[in-house]
């Protein structure tokens, strides 16, 4: 449905594209801080527009007859394949995209402001800001997509911005490697996504979200009938699309890039690898939820399992990591797993859609508190110049604001009421409980583990033993603290938003309540985790060491991230490089090429061998002539018809 009154929304991303171009092209000649201010300023405009959009959509005219409308605010033909199959670039406004607008611009703005302090004096400051603009542009473009191909386009663009930002410190080999890994792993996933799109479009004949997700439309029924290897084509295509989502959202086993991505500047981790880009997968599944639900329910169940497994898996690893950003990264993976789990169990209409709502709610909350946690971590790193948990300790005196903010974040993620995480996690657990008990128990366990590792971090950094620091740690500058404070406040209060009034799978609001029967055990297990962490890490003790020792191989496996990286390394280095690529190169040089050289060599060889004919002997020449003549005569007379 076209809606002209929102057509300004197209400017929300575009402003940032221009910001990217301006800063990128002129960046070298501007003073670094000017670039930063430019970028922040442009983003501020976008943020204002987004907030205005959110306000008017949710509270003024987004609903019609009690149902949220999906509005096409802007639409233009970008590429035409056939008369029917076209790529449009447009702006689709519906509850989740508007919500994402708010999330992205908010977190991005905070990161922009934060970075003014954090990145001060760094080489490549302008570059950093231009890439931040590029990222924000791409991310906004992604969430506003009206067309699955548009999603793919921006999907790739966020990937590349992520690549560029992870590799910000391009002189560090580890950063280069991490950026490369991130790109390639997500690219691999995107291949699935692309094939999924191809499959989807070839059966539904459209890329358009509105047509695809119309529950009464023809798109959903086509393809469901055709099956391949026991699953309907629709299921296959949706699984492939999920592969893309899993790559971006770091679902097992495509999660390996995310911890490494922490090589990027910490604000980038906060923005991209915690709050926005990594949840793009969740967003994508939510965007196509109708399709999943109606046409590919098997895929949806699969997503639920994958999400839940990932969440446990990552949570366990998080307990053993000592790099604070990596802990946060695994925590992110774990939380996204929860969101996926929520989506996987969701129903479609009314309260059955709680999983969906909860998942989006958690996404929203998670963005806030995870960004907060990362920015705090940045602040800590800024102060002590190390990422290593055991090189920190006793910082609560030195960094009071960061300390409080971090605590808020930890409480938030652990699901302690009344902070935001509590509400969304409760809803997810409720939804899962109603659908699948096994997943529920896993997620329930994850909640506890989450509290444990978060507070392990918290106590490790801020309590524990005072360490020797090269320079005395000091609190960060105001620009950074502002972001911390803002996000702390946000994390504290956003949980109170009645999300089911706004975001539901069938676009019809419903009212949800806190299910205390599930909430209370969840709180208890979180507190247990918290206390355990308190006991172990409040001050220096060998308790943790003994515990990890007693877990033995399990601990080591978790510490080594269950060797997934090594498997990948084996596949890439040993299988692909050594046993595919190098042999192909060898084959090309030696077999294919030598065939060609061989033809030349044979020609030369023959040429050498027949040279005896030209012996210089006149009589031999004559002999050849005569015998040639005789042979021709013989053949002509006896073997040819006349």
């Amino acid at each position: 449905m076209m809606n002209d009154s929102y057509s300004y929304t197209v400017a929300i991303p575009l402003i940032l594209f221009f910001s990217f171009l301006i800063i990128g092209l002129a960046g070298g000649k501007l003073k670094p801080i000017v670039s930063g201010i430019f970028g922040t300023f442009f983003l501020l405009i976008s943020t204002a527009l987004s907030y205005y959009t959110a306000y008017s959509y949710f509270f003024v005219d987004g609903k019609s007859n009690g149902v949220y409308q999906q509005l096409i605010a802007y639409d233009s033909l970008w590429l035409q394949f056939t008369d029917k199959l076209q790529i449009h670039v447009g702006v689709l406004l519906d509850p989740i995209s508007v919500m994402m607008l708010v999330v992205i611009t908010t977190v991005s703005l905070m990161v922009h402001i934060y970075s003014l302090g954090y990145m001060k004096g760094e080489v490549g400051f302008s570059r950093y800001y231009s890439f931040l603009s590029l990222f924000t542009f791409s991310m906004l473009g992604l969430v506003l997509s009206s067309n699955i191909f548009q999603t793919y386009i921006f999907w790739e663009l966020v990937g590349v911005s992520s690549y560029l930002l992870i590799g910000h410190y391009y002189e560090r080999p580890s950063a280069v490697a991490a950026s490369k890994k991130a790109f390639i792993v997500t690219r691999f996933a995107d291949m699935g996504f692309l094939v999924g799109i191809l499959l989807l479009s070839s059966f539904t004949g459209t890329f358009d979200f509105l047509k695809l997700t119309d529950p009464n439309g023809s798109a959903l029924t086509q393809g469901s009938a055709i099956s391949f290897l026991g699953l309907s084509v629709m299921t296959w295509s949706m699984l492939l699309v999920f592969m893309g989502a899993a790559g971006k959202s770091a679902m097992f086993p495509l999660h390996i890039w995310l911890p490494d991505a922490m090589e990027g500047p910490t604000p980038v981790s906060a923005l991209i690898h915690a709050a926005t880009m990594v949840v793009a997968g969740v967003y994508l599944v939510a965007r196509l939820f109708t399709v999943y639900f109606f046409a590919a329910p098997d895929a949806l169940i699969f997503i639920g399992y994958v999400g839940t497994f990932t969440s446990l898996f990552a949570a366990v690893i998080a307990c053993t990591q000592t790099d604070i950003k990596r802990v946060l990264a695994f925590s992110t993976i774990s939380q996204i797993g929860l969101m996926m789990g929520g989506l996987g169990v969701s129903g479609y209409s009314g309260p059955e859609g709680l999983g969906y709502t909860a998942s989006m709610f958690h996404l929203f909350n998670h963005a806030m508190f995870k960004a907060l946690l990362f920015l705090c971590a940045g602040s800590v790193i800024h102060a002590v110049h190390t990422n290593e948990l055991w090189d920190m300790g006793g910082l609560k005196k030195h960094l009071p604001v960061t300390h409080i903010a971090f605590l808020i974040g930890c409480l938030g993620i652990s699901g302690v009421p009344p902070l935001s995480g509590f509400f969304s996690k409760d809803e997810i657990l409720t939804a899962v409980f109603e659908k699948n008990k096994l997943l529920f128990y896993v997620q329930f366990l994850v909640a506890g583990v989450t509290a444990f590792y978060m507070f392990r971090l918290y106590f490790g950094i801020f309590w524990n033993k005072q360490r020797e620091y090269h320079t005395k740690p000091h609190e960060s500058p105001f620009s950074m603290l502002f972001a911390l404070i803002f996000l702390s406040i946000a994390s504290t209060f956003v949980g109170l938003i009645p999300f089911s009034e706004f975001v539901t799978p069938d676009l019809k609001p419903f009212t949800s309540h806190i299910h205390w029967a599930i909430a209370i055990p969840a709180i208890i297990i979180a507190v247990i985790g918290l206390v355990l962490a308190f006991v172990m890490y409040r001050k220096e003790s060998d308790l943790s060491g003994r515990l990890s020792g007693s877990l033995g191989i399990l601990y080591r496996a978790a510490y080594k991230k269950f060797y997934i990286d090594e498997i990948y390394l084996f596949i890439t280095k040993n299988v692909i490089f050594k046993h595919i690529s190098a042999p192909i190169a060898w084959f090309d040089r030696n077999v294919v090429d030598n065939t060609m050289n061989g033809i030349a060599a044979i020609t030369n060889f023959v040429s050498m061998r027949i040279r005896a004919f030209q012996s210089g002997q006149l009589q031999q020449y004559a002999y050849v002539m005569v015998s040639g003549l005789v042979i021709i005569v013989l053949v002509a007379l006896y073997f040819m018809k006349t």
Partner: protein, 167 residues
């Protein structure tokens, strides 16, 4: 009469031909060749081509053979014997030649030659003269003229080659 003569001539030709190409003394070979040529002239004669036979005798036997003998004497000793032909070379050549001869002869024999027309050939000097200078059909004025150019050019060529250069 002609039949007997023919067979004698044919026999002579074949025998001396073979001797020409096998004799290891060059001078003798030249003489054998002379016999062949004379025998061939005899063949022409019995076919009533007297003029041609005469030409054959004077030009060939008188001119060419003399030229050959001179050059033989210039380039080798009279008593010199040629080396024997290698067996390999000879047998290869023999195979080719016999094959060629067999093919040719069998083809000739398979050809249904008609009965000869019993027309008399008018090979009188007059007829020859008219034909040689005739420029209509069956006149040979043009080749006659052209061959004069050939003779001149060949003569010039032979002279410039054979002439010793002054050092």
């Amino acid at each position: 009469m002609e039949v007997v003569l023919f067979y004698i001539m044919a026999g002579l030709i074949l025998v001396f031909s073979v001797l020409t190409v096998t004799s290891r003394r060059i001078l003798r070979a030249a003489v054998y060749l002379l016999f062949v040529l004379i025998a061939a002239a005899g063949l022409f004669f019995i076919q009533q081509f007297a003029f041609l036979a005469a030409v054959q005798l004077t030009l060939y036997a008188g001119g060419i053979i003399v030229l050959i003998i001179f050059s033989v004497m210039l380039t080798s000793h009279v008593s010199e014997k040629l080396d024997a032909v290698s067996f390999k070379k000879a047998s290869f050549a023999l195979v080719a030649c016999i094959a060629g001869a067999v093919v040719c002869i069998s083809t000739i024999l398979s050809y249904p030659f008609p009965k000869p027309t019993n027309g008399e050939v008018d090979a009188s000097m007059k007829a020859i003269g008219t034909s040689l200078l005739g420029y209509k059909e069956n006149g040979f004025a043009l080749p006659f003229e052209v061959i004069s150019i050939l003779l001149l050019a060949a003569m010039l060529g032979a002279i410039i080659i054979a002439k010793r250069t002054e050092k």
